[in-house]
Amino acid sequence: MTRAVLALARRALRNVLRRPQFVAPLVVFPSLMLAANVGGLSRTTSLPGFPTDVHGFLDFQLAAAITQSLLLGGVSAGIAVALEIEGGFFDRLLAAPIPRIAIVLGRLAATSVIAVAQVAYFLALGLIFGAQIRAGIPGALLVAAIGALAGTGFGALGVMLALRARSASTVQGIFPLVFVVLFVSSAFFPRQLLQSPARQIARYNPLSYLADGMRDPIIHTVRATPVLDGFAAAAGIAAVAIALSVLALRGRLGDT
């Protein structure tokens, strides 16, 4: 089983590297949005209610860019699986003498590796343009750990969608929804400064806790509550998403 998972994970990673058009949306668009947000709204740090101890707006926005990138990574994983289903390669995997769950776990293992790379990219980008990671290397590692867990969860959601929809264009149509859930969270802006009803919804949106959990080591030292909340949100998303993807796999196998 482990061997199958690792082999499929290696394959998925290789495919990502060979198809840069799938990588671009994960980092390019969030980077551009980060630049536009920081360039356009840096003065909002002076608004009443904005945390006063933040080094800069870029520091605050990094977690939003990471969260956005991880969500898009999940959609990308879903598109990749949907293309395999459409092209027939998925059936080839099903016909192989490996545990069927390895097909999903292999993809998720690759997604978690990519997630770490995404986090590293944005932290490096932030540092290059003047951000500080207040909690230092331990803080960066915490951000990476939360990000990897969340990325795995988003990947599982993508896989679940692909197994249900069986069409890459349907999975691709989810892109706008990514922004909907992101906007009704505190990923981009402090919750107390959001407009209604986003402020209310953000209270219950796990992405708020996820983003805040990754943000805290960047703008503060390591504080237990936000970081643990972040881990809990990521773990919750991952657990639910993996369960749903396993169910979706069972449903697909039931059809074959």
């Binding site: 058009q21 630049a35 536009a36 003065r43 909002t44 706008p176 400064l193 407009q195 009803p197």
Partner: protein, 254 residues
Amino acid sequence: MKARARVVGALTRRALNEILRVPGAALPGVLAPTIFMLGISSVFGAAIQLHGFGTTSFRAFVVPVGFLQSASFAGAATGVNLARDIEHGWFDRLLLCPTPRVVLLGAVVSSASLRALLPSSFLLAVALALGVPFPGLLGILLAAVLVMGLAMAVACYAVLIALHFRTQQAAPLMQVGGFVAVLFTTSYAPAQLLTGWLRTVSRINPVTHILTGVRQGFVAHVTWAATWPALVSLAGMLIVLGGLAARALLRTGA
């Protein structure tokens, strides 16, 4: 001349088939600008407290960004469709007809301008329902002209990319051009509130003038002083990008 106009009409109708006959495929593109507008205004709405916006409604300030995004998405989608036509051989069929290639380009980009009206109209309806002030008939007409023109300009850029790479895999490259052009302007805040680098970029970016032209009706009223730079910028973009696209099309097969 009439024959060429018929060709443009026929190809434009065909290009709109994707929206009319596969509505599900076009839905994300129609909804995206509205989602973005609602999201940005919900998230960053408090920014209106900063001085310099010239309006009390952040939503009214960012709605025009959504219009330009409609144009950008429509233009990019046109390029992606052309890339698909190239991959599937349909484009060869167009190249084989005796219609001048410049006319074919005209047909492709004109479909983008019409396509941009769909998400724009939806955005306008939602914005007005949420209390954004009506920009007046002149403001709407001007916005329509600028949106359609920008869609054509972005379509020319996307066509250039499609002809160079000849594959749908270049789609992100087509999308990023319009994305950058629209966002790196006074999209979220007036020029005096932007950081140094973005202020400089927005000053150079011709889309900033187009955005100002669309925005003026929503935050104040339409004036010639804010209109003519928008029209000139648009014309310049169409001439440059249209010229490059036409040149690339004429050189296809060389």
